[in-house]
Protein backbone atom coordinates (compact mmCIF):
# COMPACT_ATOMS: atom_id res chain seq x y z
CA UNK A 1 0.00 0.00 0.00
CA UNK A 2 1.16 3.50 -0.68
CA UNK A 3 -0.07 6.82 0.67
CA UNK A 4 0.25 10.48 -0.06
CA UNK A 5 1.01 12.96 2.69
CA UNK A 6 -0.75 16.28 3.11
CA UNK A 7 -0.31 19.24 5.44
CA UNK A 8 -3.08 21.85 5.37
CA UNK A 9 -2.33 25.24 6.94
CA UNK A 10 -0.43 23.61 9.77
CA UNK A 11 0.92 25.39 12.82
CA UNK A 12 3.04 23.43 15.25
CA UNK A 13 5.65 23.92 17.95
CA UNK A 14 6.89 22.77 21.31
CA UNK A 15 4.77 24.73 23.74
CA UNK A 16 6.21 28.24 23.64
CA UNK A 17 5.15 29.73 20.30
CA UNK A 18 4.89 28.07 16.90
CA UNK A 19 7.88 26.68 15.05
CA UNK A 20 5.91 26.02 11.86
CA UNK A 21 3.70 28.89 10.68
CA UNK A 22 0.87 28.01 8.35
CA UNK A 23 2.59 25.30 6.33
CA UNK A 24 0.75 23.60 3.47
CA UNK A 25 2.38 20.79 1.56
CA UNK A 26 1.10 18.01 -0.64
CA UNK A 27 3.27 14.99 -1.39
CA UNK A 28 1.68 12.56 -3.83
CA UNK A 29 1.78 8.81 -3.26
CA UNK A 30 5.04 7.52 -4.70
CA UNK A 31 6.67 10.94 -4.87
CA UNK A 32 10.10 11.58 -3.34
CA UNK A 33 10.71 14.91 -1.66
CA UNK A 34 13.82 16.40 -0.08
CA UNK A 35 13.57 19.02 2.66
CA UNK A 36 16.38 21.57 2.73
CA UNK A 37 16.96 24.59 4.91
CA UNK A 38 19.23 26.12 7.54
CA UNK A 39 19.50 24.65 11.03
CA UNK A 40 16.41 25.48 13.03
CA UNK A 41 14.28 26.11 9.93
CA UNK A 42 11.75 23.50 11.09
CA UNK A 43 12.57 20.49 8.88
CA UNK A 44 12.70 18.01 11.73
CA UNK A 45 9.55 19.47 13.24
CA UNK A 46 7.70 18.99 9.95
CA UNK A 47 8.98 15.43 9.70
CA UNK A 48 7.94 14.62 13.28
CA UNK A 49 4.39 15.75 12.53
CA UNK A 50 4.07 12.80 10.19
CA UNK A 51 4.73 10.22 12.92
CA UNK A 52 2.68 12.01 15.57
CA UNK A 53 5.60 13.04 17.80
CA UNK A 54 4.70 16.70 17.23
CA UNK A 55 1.03 17.63 17.18
CA UNK A 56 -0.36 20.44 15.00
CA UNK A 57 -1.79 23.31 17.03
CA UNK A 58 -3.84 24.30 13.99
CA UNK A 59 -4.53 22.79 10.60
CA UNK A 60 -4.57 19.17 9.51
CA UNK A 61 -1.98 16.51 8.72
CA UNK A 62 -3.06 13.42 6.82
CA UNK A 63 -1.27 10.26 5.68
CA UNK A 64 -3.47 8.68 3.04
CA UNK A 65 -6.96 8.73 4.56
CA UNK A 66 -5.67 8.92 8.16
CA UNK A 67 -5.73 12.18 10.07
CA UNK A 68 -2.65 11.94 12.29
CA UNK A 69 -4.27 13.69 15.23
CA UNK A 70 -5.95 11.09 17.35
CA UNK A 71 -3.43 8.43 16.35
CA UNK A 72 -0.51 7.43 18.51
CA UNK A 73 2.98 7.16 16.99
CA UNK A 74 2.92 3.38 17.33
CA UNK A 75 -0.27 3.27 15.25
CA UNK A 76 1.10 5.65 12.64
CA UNK A 77 4.17 3.40 12.41
CA UNK A 78 2.08 1.04 10.26
CA UNK A 79 2.10 3.64 7.52
CA UNK A 80 5.09 5.84 8.29
CA UNK A 81 8.63 4.56 8.74
CA UNK A 82 10.70 7.23 10.52
CA UNK A 83 14.48 7.17 10.82
CA UNK A 84 15.78 9.59 13.44
CA UNK A 85 18.84 11.72 13.08
CA UNK A 86 20.48 10.14 16.14
CA UNK A 87 18.84 6.81 15.60
CA UNK A 88 21.64 4.64 16.95
CA UNK A 89 20.55 5.54 20.50
CA UNK A 90 17.60 3.20 20.07
CA UNK A 91 19.52 -0.07 19.56
CA UNK A 92 19.20 -2.61 22.36
CA UNK A 93 18.94 -6.18 21.12
CA UNK A 94 21.76 -8.69 21.37
CA UNK A 95 22.16 -9.07 17.64
CA UNK A 96 21.69 -6.83 14.63
CA UNK A 97 19.07 -9.25 13.32
CA UNK A 98 17.02 -9.11 16.54
CA UNK A 99 17.11 -5.35 16.60
CA UNK A 100 15.96 -5.06 12.99
CA UNK A 101 13.14 -7.49 13.85
CA UNK A 102 11.91 -5.36 16.77
CA UNK A 103 9.72 -3.02 14.70
CA UNK A 104 7.99 -5.75 12.69
CA UNK A 105 7.41 -7.70 15.92
CA UNK A 106 5.83 -4.68 17.65
CA UNK A 107 3.44 -4.31 14.73
CA UNK A 108 2.69 -8.02 14.62
CA UNK A 109 4.12 -8.35 11.09
CA UNK A 110 5.45 -11.69 9.82
CA UNK A 111 9.03 -10.42 9.76
CA UNK A 112 9.95 -11.69 6.32
CA UNK A 113 11.19 -8.19 5.53
CA UNK A 114 14.02 -8.51 8.03
CA UNK A 115 16.43 -10.64 6.00
CA UNK A 116 15.67 -8.62 2.86
CA UNK A 117 16.36 -5.32 4.60
CA UNK A 118 19.63 -6.64 6.04
CA UNK A 119 20.68 -7.86 2.61
CA UNK A 120 19.76 -4.59 0.91
CA UNK A 121 21.93 -2.55 3.26
CA UNK A 122 24.85 -4.95 3.18
CA UNK A 123 24.35 -6.04 6.78
CA UNK A 124 23.87 -9.77 6.25
CA UNK A 125 27.49 -10.42 7.17
CA UNK A 126 27.09 -8.77 10.57
CA UNK A 127 23.52 -9.92 11.30
CA UNK A 128 24.74 -11.99 14.26
CA UNK A 129 26.99 -9.28 15.69
CA UNK A 130 26.10 -7.07 18.63
CA UNK A 131 24.98 -3.65 17.35
CA UNK A 132 27.26 -1.88 19.83
CA UNK A 133 30.29 -3.68 18.44
CA UNK A 134 29.76 -2.00 15.04
CA UNK A 135 31.13 1.40 14.02
CA UNK A 136 28.73 4.35 14.09
CA UNK A 137 27.80 4.46 10.36
CA UNK A 138 27.03 0.72 10.42
CA UNK A 139 24.82 1.24 13.49
CA UNK A 140 22.91 3.88 11.61
CA UNK A 141 22.44 1.45 8.71
CA UNK A 142 21.02 -1.02 11.24
CA UNK A 143 18.38 1.50 12.31
CA UNK A 144 17.54 2.16 8.67
CA UNK A 145 17.17 -1.57 8.07
CA UNK A 146 14.90 -1.73 11.11
CA UNK A 147 12.56 0.78 9.49
CA UNK A 148 12.74 -0.70 5.98
CA UNK A 149 11.81 -4.08 7.47
CA UNK A 150 8.53 -2.59 8.70
CA UNK A 151 7.45 -2.12 5.10
CA UNK A 152 5.72 1.24 5.59
CA UNK A 153 4.15 3.05 2.64
CA UNK A 154 5.77 6.36 3.62
CA UNK A 155 9.45 6.72 4.55
CA UNK A 156 10.62 9.76 6.51
CA UNK A 157 14.39 9.97 6.88
CA UNK A 158 16.05 12.71 8.95
CA UNK A 159 19.66 13.21 7.79
CA UNK A 160 20.05 9.56 6.82
CA UNK A 161 23.53 9.85 5.33
CA UNK A 162 25.26 12.20 7.79
CA UNK A 163 28.75 10.83 8.48
CA UNK A 164 28.51 8.14 5.80
CA UNK A 165 31.23 7.03 3.44
CA UNK A 166 30.52 6.69 -0.26
CA UNK A 167 29.74 2.99 -0.10
CA UNK A 168 27.16 3.27 2.71
CA UNK A 169 25.52 6.18 0.95
CA UNK A 170 25.23 4.14 -2.26
CA UNK A 171 23.53 1.35 -0.31
CA UNK A 172 20.98 3.78 1.11
CA UNK A 173 20.36 5.34 -2.31
CA UNK A 174 19.78 1.94 -3.90
CA UNK A 175 17.43 0.77 -1.16
CA UNK A 176 15.46 4.00 -1.22
CA UNK A 177 15.22 4.06 -5.01
CA UNK A 178 13.89 0.51 -5.01
CA UNK A 179 11.15 1.53 -2.55
CA UNK A 180 10.25 4.65 -4.48
CA UNK A 181 9.97 2.65 -7.71
CA UNK A 182 7.56 0.29 -5.98
CA UNK A 183 5.37 3.26 -5.03
CA UNK A 184 6.63 4.23 -1.58
CA UNK A 185 6.44 7.95 -0.73
CA UNK A 186 9.70 9.37 0.59
CA UNK A 187 10.42 12.53 2.59
CA UNK A 188 14.13 13.01 3.30
CA UNK A 189 15.73 15.80 5.33
CA UNK A 190 19.28 16.17 4.08
CA UNK A 191 22.10 18.58 3.36
CA UNK A 192 23.90 15.90 1.38
CA UNK A 193 23.02 17.08 -2.13
CA UNK A 194 24.79 14.18 -3.81
CA UNK A 195 22.32 11.99 -1.93
CA UNK A 196 19.38 14.30 -2.63
CA UNK A 197 20.21 14.28 -6.35
CA UNK A 198 20.03 10.50 -6.47
CA UNK A 199 17.01 10.09 -4.19
CA UNK A 200 14.58 12.99 -4.68
CA UNK A 201 12.46 14.34 -7.52
CA UNK A 202 11.31 17.43 -5.70
CA UNK A 203 12.96 19.85 -3.30
CA UNK A 204 11.27 22.01 -0.69
CA UNK A 205 13.38 24.64 1.06
CA UNK A 206 12.22 25.74 4.49
CA UNK A 207 13.05 29.07 6.07
CA UNK A 208 11.98 30.16 9.56
CA UNK A 209 9.16 27.69 9.83
CA UNK A 210 7.67 28.29 6.39
CA UNK A 211 8.12 26.92 2.91
CA UNK A 212 10.38 29.25 0.95
CA UNK A 213 10.88 27.28 -2.26
CA UNK A 214 9.20 24.29 -3.86
CA UNK A 215 10.80 23.11 -7.13
CA UNK A 216 11.73 20.14 -9.24
CA UNK A 217 14.98 18.70 -7.87
CA UNK A 218 16.49 18.81 -11.37
CA UNK A 219 15.97 22.58 -11.60
CA UNK A 220 16.99 23.41 -8.06
CA UNK A 221 20.18 21.33 -8.13
CA UNK A 222 21.36 23.16 -11.26
CA UNK A 223 20.52 26.61 -9.90
CA UNK A 224 23.86 27.71 -8.48
CA UNK A 225 22.57 31.03 -7.15
CA UNK A 226 19.71 29.44 -5.26
CA UNK A 227 22.03 26.82 -3.79
CA UNK A 228 24.66 29.38 -2.83
CA UNK A 229 21.99 31.29 -0.94
CA UNK A 230 21.68 28.16 1.23
CA UNK A 231 25.44 27.85 1.62
CA UNK A 232 25.44 24.87 -0.72
CA UNK A 233 26.61 24.14 -4.24
CA UNK A 234 25.47 21.81 -7.02
CA UNK A 235 26.24 18.11 -6.46
CA UNK A 236 29.16 16.71 -8.54
CA UNK A 237 27.13 15.33 -11.43
CA UNK A 238 25.09 18.52 -11.77
CA UNK A 239 28.21 20.70 -11.54
CA UNK A 240 29.89 18.68 -14.27
CA UNK A 241 26.77 18.89 -16.41
CA UNK A 242 26.67 22.66 -15.99
CA UNK A 243 30.40 23.20 -16.71
CA UNK A 244 30.32 21.00 -19.79
CA UNK A 245 26.84 22.24 -20.82
CA UNK A 246 25.76 18.62 -21.22
CA UNK A 247 22.40 17.93 -22.79
CA UNK A 248 19.48 16.56 -20.78
CA UNK A 249 20.38 18.62 -17.64
CA UNK A 250 21.91 15.69 -15.71
CA UNK A 251 21.97 15.76 -11.90
CA UNK A 252 22.56 12.08 -11.14
CA UNK A 253 25.81 10.22 -11.80
CA UNK A 254 24.16 7.80 -14.21
CA UNK A 255 22.55 10.64 -16.17
CA UNK A 256 25.86 12.43 -16.38
CA UNK A 257 27.57 9.29 -17.67
CA UNK A 258 24.85 8.79 -20.26
CA UNK A 259 25.10 12.41 -21.39
CA UNK A 260 28.91 12.19 -21.63
CA UNK A 261 28.68 8.98 -23.67
CA UNK A 262 26.26 10.70 -26.03
CA UNK A 263 28.20 13.96 -26.30
CA UNK A 264 30.60 14.57 -29.15
CA UNK A 265 34.03 14.95 -27.63
CA UNK A 266 35.83 18.07 -28.74
CA UNK A 267 39.31 18.49 -27.39
CA UNK A 268 39.78 21.92 -25.83
CA UNK A 269 42.14 24.18 -27.75
CA UNK A 270 45.54 24.24 -26.09
Amino acid sequence: MTFGVRLERVRAGYGQGDVLHDVSLDVAAGESLALLGANGAGKTTLARLLIGLVRPSAGRVTVGDWDVSGRRPDELARRVGYVFQHADHQLFARTVRDDVAFGPRCLGLPGDGVAAALEELGLSRVAGAHPYDLPAPARKLVTLAGVLAMGAGVLVLDEPTAGFDHESRELVVAALRRRIESGVTAVVVSHDLAFVAEAAERIVVMREGAIATDRRARDMLRDEDALHALGLGPPPAAALGLRLALSGSPVRIAECVAALRGARWTAPAV
Binding site: F92, H130, Y132, D133
Partner: protein, 174 residues
Protein backbone atom coordinates in the same frame (compact mmCIF):
# COMPACT_ATOMS: atom_id res chain seq x y z
CA UNK B 1 24.95 6.13 38.61
CA UNK B 2 23.36 8.41 36.08
CA UNK B 3 21.19 5.40 35.25
CA UNK B 4 19.53 5.66 38.65
CA UNK B 5 18.59 9.24 37.90
CA UNK B 6 17.30 9.04 34.36
CA UNK B 7 15.27 5.83 34.46
CA UNK B 8 12.65 7.69 36.48
CA UNK B 9 11.87 9.67 33.35
CA UNK B 10 10.99 6.55 31.38
CA UNK B 11 9.01 5.18 34.28
CA UNK B 12 7.07 8.43 34.45
CA UNK B 13 6.29 8.22 30.73
CA UNK B 14 4.94 4.72 31.24
CA UNK B 15 2.93 5.86 34.27
CA UNK B 16 4.22 3.03 36.39
CA UNK B 17 3.92 3.34 40.18
CA UNK B 18 7.55 2.42 40.79
CA UNK B 19 10.85 4.32 40.97
CA UNK B 20 13.44 1.86 39.66
CA UNK B 21 16.00 4.19 41.21
CA UNK B 22 18.11 1.21 42.22
CA UNK B 23 18.72 -0.28 38.77
CA UNK B 24 22.05 1.53 38.46
CA UNK B 25 23.17 0.43 41.92
CA UNK B 26 22.25 -3.21 41.31
CA UNK B 27 23.91 -3.09 37.90
CA UNK B 28 27.16 -1.70 39.28
CA UNK B 29 27.06 -4.29 42.06
CA UNK B 30 26.82 -7.05 39.47
CA UNK B 31 29.36 -5.51 37.09
CA UNK B 32 32.01 -4.18 39.44
CA UNK B 33 31.36 -5.10 43.07
CA UNK B 34 29.94 -3.92 46.37
CA UNK B 35 32.22 -0.97 47.03
CA UNK B 36 31.64 0.65 43.66
CA UNK B 37 27.93 -0.03 44.02
CA UNK B 38 27.79 1.71 47.39
CA UNK B 39 29.58 4.68 45.89
CA UNK B 40 27.25 4.75 42.88
CA UNK B 41 24.18 4.41 45.09
CA UNK B 42 25.23 7.16 47.47
CA UNK B 43 26.40 9.54 44.78
CA UNK B 44 23.21 9.05 42.79
CA UNK B 45 21.13 9.62 45.90
CA UNK B 46 22.98 12.86 46.58
CA UNK B 47 22.83 13.95 42.95
CA UNK B 48 19.16 13.07 42.85
CA UNK B 49 18.59 15.28 45.85
CA UNK B 50 20.65 18.12 44.41
CA UNK B 51 19.24 17.96 40.88
CA UNK B 52 15.64 17.49 41.87
CA UNK B 53 15.97 19.74 44.88
CA UNK B 54 14.10 17.13 46.91
CA UNK B 55 16.46 16.83 49.83
CA UNK B 56 14.16 14.67 51.86
CA UNK B 57 15.57 11.77 49.83
CA UNK B 58 19.07 12.06 51.25
CA UNK B 59 18.70 9.73 54.26
CA UNK B 60 17.51 7.01 51.89
CA UNK B 61 21.19 6.66 50.99
CA UNK B 62 21.21 4.04 53.76
CA UNK B 63 18.80 1.98 51.68
CA UNK B 64 21.14 2.26 48.69
CA UNK B 65 23.97 0.82 50.80
CA UNK B 66 21.82 -2.12 51.81
CA UNK B 67 20.81 -2.64 48.17
CA UNK B 68 24.43 -2.52 47.01
CA UNK B 69 25.61 -5.11 49.54
CA UNK B 70 22.69 -7.46 48.89
CA UNK B 71 22.92 -7.15 45.09
CA UNK B 72 26.66 -7.80 45.09
CA UNK B 73 26.26 -10.95 47.14
CA UNK B 74 23.39 -12.42 45.12
CA UNK B 75 25.24 -11.48 41.90
CA UNK B 76 28.14 -13.64 43.13
CA UNK B 77 25.68 -16.51 43.40
CA UNK B 78 24.70 -15.91 39.78
CA UNK B 79 21.23 -14.56 40.52
CA UNK B 80 21.22 -12.23 37.52
CA UNK B 81 22.26 -14.86 35.00
CA UNK B 82 18.68 -16.06 34.52
CA UNK B 83 15.25 -14.50 34.91
CA UNK B 84 14.03 -17.38 37.09
CA UNK B 85 16.60 -16.51 39.73
CA UNK B 86 16.37 -12.73 39.24
CA UNK B 87 12.71 -12.68 40.34
CA UNK B 88 13.22 -14.25 43.79
CA UNK B 89 16.37 -12.14 44.21
CA UNK B 90 14.22 -9.07 43.51
CA UNK B 91 11.53 -10.12 45.99
CA UNK B 92 14.20 -10.64 48.65
CA UNK B 93 15.66 -7.24 47.87
CA UNK B 94 12.20 -5.69 48.04
CA UNK B 95 11.64 -7.08 51.55
CA UNK B 96 15.03 -5.93 52.70
CA UNK B 97 14.80 -2.46 51.15
CA UNK B 98 11.25 -1.99 52.39
CA UNK B 99 12.27 -2.99 55.89
CA UNK B 100 15.11 -0.47 55.78
CA UNK B 101 13.15 2.34 54.18
CA UNK B 102 10.03 2.21 56.37
CA UNK B 103 11.64 3.33 59.62
CA UNK B 104 13.54 6.10 57.80
CA UNK B 105 10.34 7.22 56.16
CA UNK B 106 8.55 7.31 59.46
CA UNK B 107 11.11 8.77 61.84
CA UNK B 108 12.74 11.31 59.58
CA UNK B 109 9.82 12.56 57.56
CA UNK B 110 6.63 11.37 59.14
CA UNK B 111 5.75 9.56 55.93
CA UNK B 112 6.29 12.20 53.25
CA UNK B 113 8.63 10.94 50.54
CA UNK B 114 6.86 12.03 47.40
CA UNK B 115 5.61 9.94 44.52
CA UNK B 116 3.55 6.79 44.73
CA UNK B 117 4.45 5.86 48.28
CA UNK B 118 3.08 9.08 49.71
CA UNK B 119 -0.16 8.78 47.79
CA UNK B 120 -0.66 5.23 49.01
CA UNK B 121 0.20 6.32 52.54
CA UNK B 122 -2.36 9.13 52.42
CA UNK B 123 -5.07 6.74 51.21
CA UNK B 124 -4.32 4.16 53.89
CA UNK B 125 -4.25 6.91 56.48
CA UNK B 126 -7.60 8.23 55.28
CA UNK B 127 -9.00 4.73 55.82
CA UNK B 128 -8.05 5.02 59.48
CA UNK B 129 -4.86 2.98 59.39
CA UNK B 130 -2.35 4.26 61.97
CA UNK B 131 0.47 6.27 60.39
CA UNK B 132 3.42 3.92 61.13
CA UNK B 133 1.49 0.95 59.75
CA UNK B 134 0.35 2.91 56.70
CA UNK B 135 3.89 4.02 55.91
CA UNK B 136 5.26 0.50 56.33
CA UNK B 137 2.54 -1.09 54.23
CA UNK B 138 2.83 1.39 51.38
CA UNK B 139 6.58 1.26 51.40
CA UNK B 140 6.70 -2.55 51.45
CA UNK B 141 4.23 -3.11 48.62
CA UNK B 142 5.91 -0.59 46.34
CA UNK B 143 9.35 -1.94 47.16
CA UNK B 144 8.49 -5.54 46.34
CA UNK B 145 7.24 -4.57 42.88
CA UNK B 146 9.97 -2.02 42.30
CA UNK B 147 12.92 -4.24 43.23
CA UNK B 148 11.59 -7.27 41.37
CA UNK B 149 11.27 -5.27 38.15
CA UNK B 150 14.70 -3.73 38.78
CA UNK B 151 16.38 -7.12 39.17
CA UNK B 152 14.74 -8.52 36.05
CA UNK B 153 15.85 -5.44 34.11
CA UNK B 154 19.41 -5.89 35.35
CA UNK B 155 19.31 -9.52 34.21
CA UNK B 156 18.08 -8.33 30.79
CA UNK B 157 20.84 -5.71 30.61
CA UNK B 158 23.55 -8.23 31.51
CA UNK B 159 22.25 -10.61 28.87
CA UNK B 160 22.43 -8.03 26.12
CA UNK B 161 25.78 -6.52 27.09
CA UNK B 162 28.14 -6.60 24.08
CA UNK B 163 31.09 -8.93 24.66
CA UNK B 164 33.66 -6.21 24.13
CA UNK B 165 32.10 -4.18 26.93
CA UNK B 166 31.41 -7.17 29.17
CA UNK B 167 35.09 -8.11 29.02
CA UNK B 168 35.94 -4.90 30.86
CA UNK B 169 34.02 -5.98 33.95
CA UNK B 170 35.89 -8.68 35.88
CA UNK B 171 33.01 -9.28 38.31
CA UNK B 172 30.97 -10.76 35.44
CA UNK B 173 33.43 -13.56 34.86
CA UNK B 174 32.77 -15.05 38.29
Amino acid sequence: MAVNLVIGQIVAALLLPVFLDAVGTILVAALVGPRAAIAAGLVSQILNAVLSGNFSWLPFGIVQIVIALYAASVARLGAFKRYETAVPAGLGLGLLAGATAAPISYFVFGGVTGGGVTAVTAVLRGLGVPLPVAVAGASMGTDLLDKTISCVLVAAILRSLPEQLAARFPALAR
